[in-house]
């Protein structure tokens, strides 16, 4: 898969740099990242804390723009797009799982998912999406009534419910035990396989890397290794 033809390249990133100016100090969150992502690929991003993983994911998802460099998604040049184009891009193509869930506290689980399904072209129902992450019984609970892991699963249901072309997950299993973690990863895996969704998963859990087509490691804002997996292990075989 990693050697797919050029037509299958979904994302092409070149020379991505992102610096933050914190007073006198310049923080280089990304310092020259080149990356191609192909259709239906499942990529796992590893790297120590502060290495720039979330920054890269945000740029791919159209939430942030790099200080320098270029990102192209199919025929959209994300780096020159204006706010309106980026909004459309996110709305039509991207599913997000945030590192901090970011559920709307005043909406129930079902309503949080509905936020996305209401503006998507071909969504699942919120019930279906929540069923996929094992929360069919908690539809009408507010975030404050859910555990951290349950909130994270609502966030995942919200991301996959629109059947996105691109699924970007920032530590989707960070707060989960291994049984639930597997459940969540299976949902991601299923969306990736069945819908051909190009998927990026950030994780600190090296075990998770086994389910990927490719594993990329970041350190200090640079890619330090790209490692294709010969075979993808199904999430249910993972254990930690």
């Amino acid at each position: 898969m990693a050697s797919g033809v050029a037509a299958d390249v979904v994302f092409r990133a070149r020379g991505l740099t992102r610096t933050y100016l914190m007073g006198e100090v310049e923080v280089h969150a990304l310092a020259g990242v080149d990356l191609d992502l192909v259709r239906s690929e499942l990529l796992v991003l590893l790297g120590p804390s502060g290495s720039g993983k979330s920054t890269l994911l945000n740029i791919l998802g159209g939430l942030d723009v790099p200080t320098a460099g270029e990102v192209v998604y199919r025929d959209h040049v994300l780096t020159t797009a204006d706010d309106r184009a980026l909004t459309r891009y996110r709305r039509e193509h991207v599913g997000f799982v945030f590192q901090f869930y970011n559920l709307i506290p005043s909406l129930t689980a079902r309503e949080n998912v509905a936020l996305v399904t209401e503006i998507a072209a071909d969504p699942m129902t919120p019930e279906e999406a929540l069923g996929l992450v094992g929360l069919a019984a908690r539809l009408d609970h507010f975030p404050a009534q859910l555990s951290g892991g349950e909130q994270q699963r609502v966030a995942i249901a919200r991301a996959i419910a629109k059947r996105p072309d691109v699924l970007l997950c920032d530590e989707p299993t960070g707060a989960l035990d291994s049984v639930t973690g597997v459940l969540v990863l299976e949902a991601i895996d299923r969306v990736n396989r069945e819908l051909g969704t190009t998927t990026v998963v950030i994780t600190h859990n090296v075990v998770v890397a086994a389910m990927a087509d490719r594993v990329i490691t970041l350190a200090d804002g640079r890619i330090t290794s790209v490692r294709p997996n010969a075979t993808r292990r199904p999430p249910r075989d993972l254990e930690w």
Partner: protein
């Protein structure tokens, strides 16, 4: 799909519900501003409509003139003046009425009307009873206000002294005239319906009583469309001059109409400014609240943007929040305004006499109210919404960075040791967000300022009364003679029972001209160093009249466009009717009316007359008051007697009735605002600090300790805000007073300490109540819930 309501709208509804207290508070502030706008404007339009219709239907005249005595044949000459459509000549005379149970005698203005009834200008509206019958000379119609104030009706009898003869006038009906919508006793500015009334009497009867069978002393004219009013007035004056014409005046300057016009102008000015202030405050509050909601929800906004919601959708989402408040406020405001408007109209009904003073709420005013409230709410929300949609979505991916704290100023200057940890947190919090703290202070200050604005009218009136009656008009009684008399008459008065001091005056009817402008009024001639009636400016400084020249009140000088050092042409409307140019030697700032003063001697020189007086001011012994009035009434030379005491009492009663209503509304509304502002400030800091405070509770702080931190902040804000608010309040008072100024009267910008104190106390009370409400919410802080989710 989740039901019919979109998820984002559900969020809206739940946010609104969660913040219902704040939404209600802002809505109330806005509703209050709107209610005032709607009330004043609907009252204004109702009054204006009523006035227009009344004038039209009852053919209110265009030009008014009086004359000493002119032959009836002159009517044809007047009618022949180009531009004159109709002429009605009449007999008008002021007489003394001897109503039982009244300490000071009342004045009745007798106005002749045709009997049997025939069409006329200033046609009457007969409220009750019937027209006079032919051959019954004592039958009269009484003006409604006078009848109501004195309990008169058809069948009542009014003892009157007419041309020296005692007559018993029979009231056969109650009537109203467009000429007397607002009736004041001649020479006074304040309505006194008990002591001044209009009585309409048959032409023959009145003519006979004053030897005017073949003549008239008053004329009203209607102009044909397109006629030149100044030209007609000029003509009328020429025709009447040989017969002692007092100078014609246009409708604009006719007393009743002039007062009504002034009142309408005031209502319109007031109807604009005060609600505007309230609405600005409401918009400001809305902005503060929404920006804080937005800043609390920044991560939600970022997440929604990340999920693909556009700026427009999110902008609309937050704008709707304020629109809901705005729409709610405008419904309440328009309804409340209509209710208030009815109240105000009812009050005007006691003041201005119309056949029917109907209250109507014009659709335009209601719609304008709605539009204003929507603009205010959207305008108020704009900045906050703009900030909301501008948030970069990547923010959603990061928790809010811990705020930057520094050691506070108070600590830096070395006061740290006097502050406990709670106080230190309060101070740091306030200093950390100077803009936010300043807006809180400003918001609370505004409410204190509005309280000052609402209350200070009482002080202004009190101060005006003090200057007017303690310093200017110190006489107890003012006596006017039928004709100017030799000053021996003054000595005669001195011998009456209870008279302690007497001061002669000479007042003379004049018209003052400066270029194209003119005003008709009395010049008051005063003795060289008056003890009773003096010329005093609004600062309470007694002014010595210069030996020569005129001293004009500022409002008269402004009406004429003349300054000290200039000169006016005095057209004397009595006696030899000289026209003389007289220098204006000084201008005096006064509260009441248009006045012109001269030294008695200078005035006599101007009039080329001897030692004549037209009236006198008396200081009396209150115990002999009744006896004195009896003697005065019996004197044929005395035309009128007015009591300062009765005037003040009447004025205070009137102000209590009218101003009382307005001040009541103002204070009620200002209190609502005070509560709204302070409650919002408290609630907002609770929602912003809820997490911190919950964390502190988890760490083992007690409820009292965290309440102290939160409410300490509120207390500091309120303490800082009150002085600021009092200063702003004074400024607003000065602004509003400017609008209240008319030719008729102006008010001093006087704010008494008790007003400042009341404003401070109400603000602190509102703070206390808000503090208690928030305190209760703090006690029920859901520790786990707050810590678990990030808002």
């Amino acid at each position: 799909m989740v039901g019919m309501v979109r998820a984002l709208d559900r969020k809206l509804l739940r946010d609104l519900w969660r913040l219902k207290g704040q939404a209600l508070a802002i809505g109330a502030v806005m509703a209050v501003g709107l209610a005032m706008f709607v009330a004043y404007f609907s009252t204004f339009t109702s009054l204006q409509r009523t006035q227009e219709r009344y004038y039209e239907r009852h053919r209110f005249a265009d030009v008014f003139a009086s004359v000493k005595r002119a032959p009836l044949s002159l009517a044809t000459r007047l009618a022949a003046i180009p531009g004159v459509a109709q002429v009605d000549v009449r007999v008008v005379a002021d007489v003394t009425l001897d109503l039982p149970g009244q300490p000071a005698p009342a004045t009745g203005r007798l106005v002749s009307v045709p009997v049997p009834r025939a069409p006329m200008l200033n046609d009457l509206f007969l409220r009750r009873g019937r027209w006079m019958d032919v051959g019954r000379p004592d039958e009269v119609l009484a003006s409604e206000a006078f009848a109501l104030a004195n309990g008169l009706g058809p069948g009542s009898t009014i003892p009157a002294l007419i041309n020296g003869r005692r007559r018993h006038l029979q009231v056969v009906g109650i009537a109203l005239s467009p000429e007397y919508v607002y009736t004041v006793r001649p020479g006074e500015v304040i309505i006194d319906d008990r002591r001044f009334g209009v009585l309409w009497m048959g032409r023959q009867a009145l003519g006979a009583a004053f030897d005017m069978e073949g003549g008239f002393n008053d004329v009203v004219l209607a102009l044909s469309p397109g006629a030149s009013e100044p030209a007609v007035i000029g003509h009328v004056d020429v025709v009447l001059r040989p017969y002692g014409g007092f100078g014609a005046i246009p409708r604009r300057l006719q007393m009743s109409n002039w007062s009504l016009t002034n009142e309408l102008a005031q209502l319109r000015g007031f109807g604009m400014l005060v609600p505007l202030i309230f609405l600005v405050v409401a918009a400001f509050l809305l902005n503060v609240v929404l920006s804080r909601i937005v800043s609390v929800q920044r991560e939600q906004i970022a997440a929604l943007k990340a999920l693909g919601y556009s700026r427009l959708e999110l902008g609309w989402h937050y704008a709707k929040w304020s629109l809901v408040v705005g729409v709610g406020a405008s419904v309440a405001g328009v309804a409340g305004g209509a209710w208030m408007g009815r109240g105000i109209i009812a009050m005007y009904n006691d003041f201005f006499r119309f056949p029917e003073l109907l209250y109507r709420m014009p659709a335009g005013v209601a719609l304008a109210g709605l539009a204003i409230s929507l603009v205010a709410s959207v305008g108020g929300a704009m900045g906050a919404v703009h900030r909301a949609v501008r948030l970069p979505p990547a923010e959603a991916m990061r928790p809010e960075p811990p705020a930057m704290f520094t050691r506070s100023l108070v600590e830096r200057v070395g006061l740290a040791h006097v502050l406990g940890p709670a106080a230190r947190m309060v101070v740091r919090n306030l200093e950390r967000q100077p803009v936010r703290s300043a807006t809180s202070v400003l918001g609370v200050a505004c409410s204190a300022a509005l309280l000052v604005l609402g209350l200070f009218f009482l002080d202004a009136i009190t101060e005006m009364l003090r200057v007017q009656f303690d310093l200017v008009q110190r006489q107890d009684v003012t006596v006017t003679f039928v004709e100017p008399r030799g000053d021996a008459a003054v000595h005669e008065l001195r011998r009456l029972p209870g008279v302690l001091d007497v001061e002669a005056t000479r007042t003379v009817q004049v018209r003052l001209h400066v270029a194209q402008r003119s005003r008709q009024l009395l010049i008051t001639g005063l003795v060289d160093t008056p003890r009773l009636q003096r010329v005093v400016d609004i600062g309470g400084r007694v002014m010595a009249l210069p030996p020569a020249g005129l001293v004009l009140s500022r409002s008269l000088a402004e009406a004429l466009g003349v300054e000290a050092g200039g000169s006016v042409t005095v057209e004397v409307l009595e006696g030899r009717r000289r026209t003389v140019r007289v220098p204006v030697t000084a201008i005096v700032d006064e509260y009441l009316g248009l006045s012109a003063y001269m030294r008695l001697e200078a005035l006599r020189t101007l009039l080329r007359e001897g030692r004549l007086v037209s009236g006198a001011h008396l200081l009396i012994d209150a115990r002999e008051e009744a006896a004195l009035y009896r003697r005065l009434e019996a004197m044929p030379a005395v035309a009128g007697v007015s009591s300062t005491h009765a005037m003040v009492e009447n004025f205070v009663r009137q102000m209590d009735e009218t101003m009382g209503v307005m001040i009541g509304f103002n204070v009620l509304f200002a209190s609502i605002i005070a509560f709204g502002v302070v409650y919002n400030a408290a609630r907002l800091s609770l929602s912003e600090r809820g997490r911190d405070l919950a964390s502190l509770r988890v760490l083992g702080y007690t409820r009292v300790e965290i309440s102290t931190m939160l409410l300490g902040e509120l207390a500091v804000v309120v303490v800082l805000a009150i002085p600021v608010g009092l200063v702003i309040g004074y400024g607003l008072a000065a602004l509003v007073i400017g609008l209240f100024e008319t030719e008729m009267y102006r008010f001093p910008v006087a704010v008494a300490p008790r007003t400042y104190a009341a404003a401070a106390v109400v603000t602190m009370g509102a703070a206390l109540v808000s503090g208690l409400v928030v305190r209760r919410q703090l006690d029920h802080l859901d520790l786990v819930g707050v810590l678990k989710t990030r808002e």
